[in-house]
Symmetry: C2
Subunit: 388 residues, 2 copies
C-alpha cells in the first residue's frame, strides 16, 4: 500500500525492488532533495516534487532539503559570465528562507530538515577534492546528455563543471540518504550519488525520477527561463486564472501530478465537461497552495469576470486629476507594471477596453469627468476616478 | 653572450624574445624545475636538465627546485592500482634529501632553493581547487598528447588526472617563476603554468624544453622503466664502462648535452678516432659527476681490463673451502647479486670464464685447490681463493 502510493506517477525508480526493501525496514527513510539557492522562485513544476516529498512525510519518512550554498558562494568561477555572481552568506540565507516559505506551502514543516552543503564540502579541502575527482572517469562523466552534447558540438566545458555532479553526489554520502528525488533531467546526477555511496560501502540510495511538468505554452517544461510558469506564491485569483489558460491537452497530467483527484474521476470529467474539469483543476491547486476559501473566492471571481464577462466590483481605484488625457498617458498613470512601449503595443493590439469599449488609438483623447472602468489585457481591472 | 649560452641545446624556447628581455632585467631570474619525490634515482637524462640549471646559476640566476610532495602524499587515489601508494611525510623528506644529494653533483648548493608544493596546495581548499579547475576547459586539456591518445583509445582518464597539470601550473603562479625548464615531453605542463600566470596578471614564465636523452639501447629515451639508464650515483668504474657501451651513433648527442667539449672538437674526434672520442666522453661525464682522479682511475681500469683484456689486480677476493664444486654452486658463493637462474643462463650463454677459459656447462665439476680468476659477464671480476 505504502509502496503503491509512493511509487505513483514516478517516471522511473532505480530500483523498485530496493524501494520495497527499504520500506520494510520499519524506520523513517532519509529522503533527499537538493535545491539551488540562487533562484528561490518556485513554480508548479517544483510542486510536483514537493508533493511527492509530502507523500513520504505522510508515510512517516524524513525529508532532507539540501541547500546547495557551497557552489553559490563560489559563483560561476569561469569569470567569463557575469550571469552568476557569487552570493554572499546573508543573500544565501535570505534565499533559503524564501525557498522554505514557499516549500512549506506543500511540505510538513516539522518533518523537514534543511541543511547547507557548505558544511561538509568546505571540509573536503584540496586533498578530499582530488580524491573525489579520482572516483570518476572522464568517459563516464561525458555520458551525461548535456555534457556529451556540448563536447560533440565543441562548446567549451570547464573542468569544474565536470566536478559539480560529484559534489552533489557527495551530499548523498554525507547525509546517508536512502532515497533521492529529482526530475527526469536529474537522473545522471542522482545516479552519481548512488555510485559514490556504493564505493563508500553504504547502502545506495534509491533514485526516483518524477516527470517534468509541461508549462503554459503546452510545449516545453515549465521553467522560469521560458516564462511559461505559474509561481507557487501567485495570488489566488491570478493563479486560478493562469491555470484556466493552460491548453486542454495538459489537463490530465496536471490533475495527475498536482492534485489528489482520482484518475477515473478526472478522466471522465475531462471527457464530459472539460470546462468544469478545468475549474476543478484550478480550484484544487489554488486550494492546496492557499486555502479553501481563497480558492472559492478565486473561482467566483473567475466566473463573474471571465465566464459572465462582468467588470469586477473590487477593481483597484486610481485617482487622477479631472481633465483631458491622451489614452496612452492616461494608462501610464495606472501602476500596472507595464512600460509605455508595452502599453502602446497592448492598445494597438486591441487589448484595451474603457467602459467595455475597445480603443485602439494610443493618441485618442479621453475626457476624464466621471469614473471610467478600464480593462488592461485579460486580467487587469482598474477604475479611473477623477478627483480634484 | 649570456643568452647564447643559456639558449644552447634547447629544443624549444617559448619565447626566445621574452628570454632576451628577461635577461636584460638585471636581476636574478627565478628558474623553476619540478621533480617527483617518488623516484629519487637520477640518471644521465636528468643530468641534461641539471646542467642547464647549473648554467643559469653560473650566470647569477636562482634555481627553485619544487618537490611535488603534495600529490605524493595523496598517492594514486584511483584505488585501482597499488603501484603508487601514498608516501608518508618522512619518506618524502628522505626522498627529497636523496634527490638533493644527487642533484648537487651538478647544481651549486648555495644558489638552489628547495621548496615543497604541499605548502601552498593544501591552502587552496575545496574552493580554491574549484576555482583552479574553472580556469581550463576540457578541450584544451585533451590537447595534451597522452590524454588525447587515451581518450581516443577509450582508455580511462580519471578526473583528478586532468587536474594535475593545473596544480603544477599553479606552482609557477605561487613561486612567480621567470622560467621553467623541462623535457620536451613536459611542454604542455609548462605552458599551463605560463597561461595561469597570465590570468593572474603575472609576467608569464619562459618555457624552455630540453631534448630527451636517448638511453643505452639507442632507441628510447633514457628511463628507469626501460632499464636503459646510467645512474648519476653509479660508481666511477661502472659509469665509465656503461658509457663506453653506448652505440656510437649516440656519441654526438651525449657530448653535446652532457659535456662542455666544443662542437667542432668532438665532431672531428668522433670522425677520426671514435674509440678515443668515446673514452673522452666517458672521462668527461665521470669526472663531472665524481672527480678527475676517479675518472682517471676508471679510464685506466677500463683500458687494462677491456682494451688490453687483462684481469684486474684488485678484483674482489672470495674465500671458499677447498674441495670440489659444481660450477653453478661455486658461482653462487660469489655475492654478485645474481640469482641461480640468472647464473645458469649466463653460463649456458657463454658469459663465464675461469682463468680465461669459457665454461658453458653449469654442472661441470670444478676442483678448488689453488686460486681461480673468475669473470662473470663483461664487468664482474672475482678471485676464488681456497682457505681452510
Amino acid at each position: 500500500m505504502s509502496f503503491e502510493k509512493l511509487a505513483k506517477n514516478a517516471s522511473e525508480i532505480i530500483s523498485e525492488e530496493e524501494l520495497k526493501q527499504k520500506l520494510k525496514l520499519n524506520r523513517p527513510l532519509r529522503v533527499k532533495a537538493g535545491f539551488d539557492p540562487t533562484a528561490p522562485d518556485l513554480h508548479l513544476g517544483h510542486m510536483v516534487l514537493l508533493r511527492k516529498l509530502r507523500q513520504f512525510q505522510e508515510e512517516g519518512h524524513e525529508v532532507i532539503l539540501i541547500v546547495g550554498d557551497f557552489t553559490a558562494l563560489i559563483g560561476d568561477p569561469t569569470g567569463r559570465s557575469s550571469v552568476r555572481p557569487a552570493l554572499t552568506h546573508s543573500e544565501i540565507e535570505q534565499n533559503a528562507k524564501t525557498y522554505q516559505e514557499q516549500a512549506f506551502k506543500v511540505l510538513i514543516r516539522e518533518k523537514t530538515k534543511v541543511v547547507f552543503n557548505s558544511e561538509w564540502l568546505k571540509a573536503l579541502g584540496t586533498e578530499g577534492t582530488i580524491k573525489l575527482l579520482a572516483k570518476w572517469t572522464l568517459a563516464r562523466m561525458l555520458e551525461r546528455d548535456d555534457f556529451s552534447m556540448r563536447f560533440k558540438n565543441q562548446n567549451p566545458i570547464f573542468l569544474h563543471e565536470l566536478f559539480y555532479p560529484l559534489l552533489q553526489g557527495y551530499d548523498s554520502v554525507f547525509i546517508q540518504s536512502d532515497l533521492e528525488l529529482g526530475g527526469t533531467d536529474q537522473k545522471f546526477n542522482l545516479l552519481v550519488g548512488r555510485e559514490l555511496q556504493k564505493e563508500q560501502g553504504q547502502e545506495p540510495q534509491v533514485c526516483m525520477m518524477m516527470p517534468l511538468l509541461v508549462g503554459l505554452d503546452g510545449q516545453r517544461k515549465m521553467s522560469k527561463s521560458y516564462g511559461n510558469y505559474i509561481r507557487i506564491t501567485e495570488k489566488p485569483r491570478e493563479m486560478f486564472g493562469k491555470i484556466m489558460s493552460i491548453p486542454d491537452t495538459l489537463m490530465e497530467e496536471y490533475f495527475r501530478l498536482l492534485t489528489d483527484i482520482e484518475e477515473k474521476e478526472f478522466q471522465s470529467l475531462i471527457k464530459e465537461h472539460p470546462m468544469k474539469a478545468k475549474k476543478l483543476l484550478a480550484f484544487e491547486i489554488t486550494k492546496a497552495l492557499n486555502s479553501e476559501s481563497e480558492a472559492q473566492d478565486a473561482l467566483e471571481y473567475f466566473q463573474s469576470v471571465f465566464s459572465e464577462r462582468k467588470f469586477p466590483k473590487d477593481a483597484e481605484i486610481i485617482n487622477v486629476n479631472p481633465g483631458r488625457y491622451r489614452l496612452i498617458d492616461l494608462l501610464a498613470l495606472i501602476n500596472s507594471g507595464m512600460s509605455k512601449n508595452a502599453l502602446w503595443r497592448l492598445i494597438t493590439g486591441g487589448g484595451i477596453k474603457i467602459n467595455g469599449e475597445k480603443l485602439i488609438d494610443p493618441n485618442l483623447e479621453v475626457d476624464v469627468k466621471i469614473s471610467l472602468e478600464i480593462q488592461l489585457g485579460k486580467r487587469g481591472f482598474y477604475i479611473i476616478k477623477p478627483q480634484s
